[in-house]
Structure formats: C-alpha cells, structure tokens
Amino acid sequence: MTAVALTQRTARFRPARALRLEIKHNPGVWVLPLLAAVFYFNAFRTAAGYPPTWTLRAAVITGPNLIFFTVIAAGISAWVATREGRRKTGDLLATTARAAWPRQLTVLAATVFWMVLAYLAGVAVIYGMTAFQATWGGPPWWPVAAGAVGVAAACAVGFTCGTLLPGRFTAPVVAVAVFAAWFIGVNAANSVWDVPNASSARGSPALLVATNGGRPQDVAVGVFYHAAPDVSIAQVMFMGGVLLVMVALPALLPAARVGGARRSSFAARRRWLTVVAAVGIAAGVAASATAFSLAGTARLSAVTGWGIPALHDAADDQPIPYTPDCAGGAFAVCAHPAFAPYLGAISAALQPAVAEVVGLPGVPARAEMTTGDTLPAVAGTTSVYQYSPKLEGVGGESFWVTPAMARAAAWEQGTQQDFITWFVSGPSAQEAPGPTPAQEAVAIALLAKLGAPVPPGYPQFSQPASQSGSSGMSSGSATQPTATAAQITAAATSFQSLSSAARHSWLAANIVGLRSGAVTLAMIP
C-alpha cells in the first residue's frame, strides 16, 4: 500500500466507524445497571400489578418509566457532552479536519443508542410479560414510539446543555431540571384528568405528559373500543420537534464549539450546515408548536379516551367485535376475552350466590360483562346480570387487581355482595339513598349464608360509629323509615335463622315487594 493510498483512505469520513467507537467507549453503558434497578422498582412492578391487558400495561412505559429514563438520559448526555472540556482536548480537536458538530453528533448518537436501547429493553420486558399473560389483543406501538423519541429528545436536551455550559454541575442540574419539568407537567396533567365527567373535560397541552403514576382512568381502556393513539402521535410530534431543535442548535451557535475550537470551527465556514441547521430548528419548532396546540383541541370520549380531532381516525370510535368467554353450566358467566383470566374467580363467586336464590322471581339465567358507565338492567326486568369492569359496586371489588389477587376470598365476596345487593334491591340500588333497610337486611342474611360479610358500601355500616352496631342511622328513602345498623343487623340475624325452605318461600312471595320498597324492616320474619 502506498502512502498516497493510505492518505486517501484515512481522509474519507467514516461515520459508522466513529459511531462504533463512540458506542464502545460511551459511559452510557455504565448506567445500565442503575436504569435496570429504576426500571424494576418503578415500571416493572407497576406493570406487574396491573390487569394483563395491553393498553393498561402500555400506559406504564410512557408514565413513570419514561420519566426516570429521560432524567438519567439527560444527565448522562450532559456529562458526555462535557468530555472534551473535562479532558482538556479542545485545542487538540480544534486542529482536526472535521467540524465540531459532526463529531459531537456522533457522541450524542452513541449516547442515544445506549439510552434508547435500554428503554426498548424495558419495553420488551413489559410486553414480553404481557404477551404471556394477556388473553386478547395486541401490543400498541405508538406509546413505544413516543417513549423512544422522548428518551432521544432528553439525550439531546442534556447534550446541548452540556455543550453550551460545560461545567461540573451541568449534568445534575440538567437531570434535576428535567425531573422538575416532568413533575410540573404531571401536576398540570393531573388537573386535566380531575374532571367529574367526560363532557366537562377540556384538552390541554398537559396531555402530552402522563398523570401521576401514569395510571389510566378506565381499567377497560382499549378493550371494548380501540384506545385512540392521537395523544401518542402528538407526543411523538412534540418530542421529535424538541429532538430536532436540540440536535441542530449546536451547529448554529459558535459557543457550541467546545473549548479551543471556538475560533476555527468549520461549522461557521460551511454555509450549507448552517442552512440545514436553521431548517431543522424551524421544522422542530413547527412540529412542537403544532403538537402543543393540537393537544389543546383534544376532546375526552367516555369510550376511547382523549382524541385529537385533527389526528383522529373515526374507525377508532367503533366497538371492537369479540366473542365472550363463558364458564359455568346452568348459570353461565361470560366475560370479555381480555378479562378471561378473571372468569374463574367471577364464576366461582357467582355460582353459589345464584344457587342461594335460584327459583325466585327475577333470577338471571346468565351473567355478562358490559362496557362503560351504563348501569345494569334492574333485577326482575332482565334475565341477564350485567357487570362492568369499570363500575365499582357495594362490594368494593375492582378489576384493577391482578387475576391472582382476584382469586382471593375478599374479591369473590365482593362479587357476591354486588350480585345479592343487585338481586334484592331493584331500582333503589341505582338511586341516591341506596338500598332500603329491609333490602339491606335480606341481603346481609343471604350473604351470611354464603359466608360473605356486610358490604362496605352500605351507608349505615360504613360509618365508623356503626361498628358497634349501636348507631349509624339509615339515610332512609321515600317509602321506608330510617333504621340503625343495629336494627338492620337484628332483622338480618332473624331472617338468617329461618330454615332454608321458610326463607325461600318468604322471598318467593315478597321479593317483588322487597325490590319495589313496599316491604319494611318490620315485615321481615
């Protein structure tokens, strides 16, 4: 090989080789154990505690997981950016043939590589776990894109800050500033979500940030209807814009040329680089500003969540067809296939409860899972017991628990409390005062036969003073006098002491009157 050939070969710019070298020596790899620990304690444990539905689990990766990854990514990028100043190689590098910006860009790209790789590894763990547990649906990819772009943008923010202000304290200040900015955004996002109903919710740029903990409002989000990806698209636009601005900014600013290179940067001489950087900044600002304003136009739908009209696909508003999974024999219990892991627990809870009232007027033939806030049809008017994963009944059980926790006695008893209360209460279960004292007494007696305690949702029993059974006045209803918890308990005990046949025959004769509120506490045998 001749000297000329060697010179020609080495003069060629080889960004792939430079990037490979930077990736090999980047300190980002040393923070991977820390990221793994933070991921385990924040994202993994949170996701593992959620029901195994894809959209819920995906909410974790843009919630706390993204916050901690961006904080550490910004800090470590700022640290990396100060490398040339720290090692006092500014003068040495100023004499090289390459402009400072491409060199710095290679360092940034290597840091982004490690941070995004770590983030995607975390996503892979959560999605892998969900793939084993979920029984319906598939992974949403827009949140993954939003997270990856967010981590890259945080790297770029940290890197630009470190390049412009190469000091000892730059890295922690940037990390803490990113953390604080996230929390200020979370505070604003919490206030956006804190609305009584969907109609009163108004869009806000705060939607670009997850709420505290990142937990969605609806446990069935993305199950009956598609979860609209509009907000995730806006997040990608916003963070992509920030990324573009931060990458292009150092190419424009003379101060960004580190150390001794300030007087002789190629960046200043290369007009095309300046033009490209200016265009990049303009495009980035436009993308971020557009996303910011689009988020302000968002509207909350009760079924699909937040939607941005300009980005919304009307197909997302249509319900997703599904075939329910059912269990049980004579009394079939059906659930959405996404909640199939809970089916065993629901069926195990409802079968004995239905057996307790079988043969009475209005006993349902099956149980079905419904969607949204729609109240179930009143007992006696339907042959289907409808239950919603979104609504929390008097039993207090919730679908926010994992399938393993749903198999616990307390959860099954909550399901029984909901069913028995629905069965004996009629319309009053859905009205303001709640069940009448007579209905409560009968329900308590039936639940006692099942081994379930008094439902925590009964007002007389939920007051602290009523624990002794001496006080806790019933709020009463239009047709019934008030009663204390003690009186209700006494009536329930009396009714429970009847033989099964006597209890059954009394219920057969009076269940319609009991549901309508015509039966009072004194009429219970």
Partner: protein, 222 residues
Amino acid sequence: MTAVRTPPVPPAAPAVPAPPSQRLAAGARLTSLNLRSRRVPTALLALFLCAGALRAVQHWHLMNGGVLAQQGPMVIEAGAAAMVAMTTHSPFGEAERATGRWLPYLRLASALALTGIAIGALQLGVTGTSLPGGVLLLARNVIGVTGIGLLAALFTGGLLAWIGPIGYLGLAEYALNEAWRNPWTWPARPPADRGAWICAAIVFAAGLTAVTLRGPRTSLSD
C-alpha cells in the same frame, strides 16, 4: 575523568516555626484554595438556586396534590444533595493525595458545612410556605441523600456522584407512590419517624466517613 573536590555541605539551619499569624494565614489560604478547587463557590450558588426553585414550586403550587406535593420538593432536595457530593471531586488527583495531609479534615469540614448550608438554604427558601413534612423531613432527606451521594463518589468519582442521589430518587418516588413503610425509604416515612432518621443518619455517617478517610475515586479521564 578527573576528581572534583566538592565543598563540604554546611549543616542545615534549625527549622524556625512560623509565627501563629502566618500559620493562620497559610491555613486560611490552604482552605480557600481547597474550596475553590472543588468549585465550592459554584456549589453554593447552585444550592441557593435550588432554594429559589423550591420557593417557586411552593409559591406557585407547581407540584401539589397528593403524593406529588412530597415528590416534587424531594427532587430539588436530591439535587442539592448531589451538588454537595460533587464538590468532593479534586482536579489534582493522586498528586494532592500524596502531599496534602490536611485533606481528610478539609473533606470532612467541607461536606459537613455544605450539608448544613444546603438544609439552611432550602429551609430559607420555603419559609412562610407549607412544605409537607416541614424542616424535619427536608433535613432528613438532604442528610440521607447526601450520604448516598458521598458513597457514590467512592465508586464513580466526584463528578458522577450525582448518579447515586438521582437513582435513589427513582426508588423513593416509587416508595412514596406505594406508601412503603421501610425505613430505608425514609422520604416515605413521617417526619419524626425514628427508624427513618436512624437509616438516613447511618447512610450519611457512612458516606462522610468513607469520603473523609478515603476520598472519592479519582480517574485519569476526569
């Protein structure tokens, strides 16, 4: 080669101790140089900036409501603790270690003083506002997280010591969200909780002792 007669070496003059005023001035200069080499003046500025940020957060209710009211100030407290830990870095490295016999004392005094100043500055920043947990929680958080930063400096060096406090912050935020009761996650415990105070004090004492005796890790690449 010719023999050269070397003149006899005169006996060394007996060492005359410097007068106390000169020794005091030398000590003050040594301390001043030490603090400046550790960027302590910049750290003080950063601490007061943290205090200002905490004041702004409390005044404008930028992070309030539920757990966030406690999580938000903790981020700034951890930032202040990270600043203290980062002042342990010396630009002179091994050469200074080999010659400076007063270094351990300077490291101890510097870390203690800066921790105290951090607590004082942050408390000054929130005077007149309702900081959740009050000064007790603030002091415990700063003390404990500074200890983590000092311990981190042993492994990462002073310049990367902020990694420790930020990493612990990740754990503590989760502990606050989940209402953990473990005293090692002291930010989630009540202000007067004895176990949390003991844990925070142990971590601080361990970090302080280690940094005093051993100093932060030094690396040629720093």
